[in-house]
């Protein structure tokens, strides 16, 4: 049995899945990729995102250890996603690949250092 709130690796994987899905939202049901994670992971990620939002709005809480680790897992997932899908400096849209030559949203050309 897995206690989802204490499975930081699983929570990171769930957050990464959601970020990847947001990159290209599926237009048809058959395009939605199958998930490798049980629904409980996404329920917990949803809670952690809500907790983040409350804290950003100024609420202060005494966090439990699993909440801190869960928030760290979300940050780690975002960092990994940003490395693999850097944002366009013009419009901020995450790119499909770190090697993209041009932004797929605004068309801005990316300059690569030699």
């Amino acid at each position: 049995m897995i206690v989802v709130s204490r499975d930081a690796q699983g929570l990171k994987a769930a957050m990464l899945e959601l970020l990847e899905m947001s990159l290209s939202p599926a237009q048809r049901e058959e395009d939605i990729p199958e998930t490798k994670l049980s629904p409980g992971y996404f329920a917990r990620v949803e809670y952690l995102v809500r907790l983040e939002g409350m804290m950003k709005a100024g609420a202060t809480f005494e966090l439990l250890a699993d909440e801190v680790e869960g928030l760290q897992a979300l940050q780690s997932a975002r960092g990994e996603f940003e490395r693999e899908h850097p944002s366009c400096s013009g419009c901020g849209t995450p790119q499909y690949s770190a090697f993209a030559q041009r932004c797929h949203a605004c068309g801005a050309q990316f300059k690569r250092s030699a």
């Binding site: 897995i2 959601l18 409980g40 995102v49």
Partner: protein
Amino acid sequence: MTTATEMEPKKDTSELSVRDGAILPLDADRCVSFFDKGHPYTFYFSRINQADWERYFSGISLSSHNEGRAQVTITDMDSAAIQLVEEKLVRVEGYRGEFQKREDWRQILPIRHTRPAAWLLRTVTASDVQSESFDPEQVEAVIDAAWGISKPGQMVLYTGLVHKFRPLTAEQKRRYCRATSETRVIGNGRNGRTVFVPKQPMLVKLYNDLIIGVEGYSIGGRKLETSEEAILQMDAYHKVIAVEQLFVGNNDANESAEEAA
């Protein structure tokens, strides 16, 4: 303020009738009544206390798993409710024969009777009745509940039962959200079945923390009004349905993880 509503009788179910301005007596005989094939049956229970409801809550099963791209959620509230019926039942009316003399008579009642009895014990819902004015320093939750019978096959529906709460703090909101996100995954590694931990015990505690007063209830012939009386005497199922109203409408602007990223 409680009011009454006439409802169309449905085949093989209970009729519901409500009396204008009725007060729900929490210490009245607990009974339910319904029709089966046009014949009325009535079930009488001993008082259902908080421990009985907590045992029911802990027996609720809610789980979710993936089947391909689909997410399948399975809820079973009936099994625990039927167990509650069998534990608290003292006598029944409407049947023939002497079966109530048997020690196991409760277990031989048909499911098509114990299930509607279990459902009628839990007929408590958010109400359409709203107060005409409001106090900005408190939050009201208004519920309707079936309780007691007016005649065989016909239950009484009390509407407009008011529960008044202090506003939620951020910490209480967080407790609720954390409780609803608490899960276990069993079988098949991380892609197993998610089992949700019942949130009702937490909701009962929250009710006791937040309640200021109630309207529409009585006990011992006296109106129940204060928070202390509500904490001690209020039916735990009513507590759960009432306090849950504080969270209705709070999820309409749910931020998805991708929006938050």
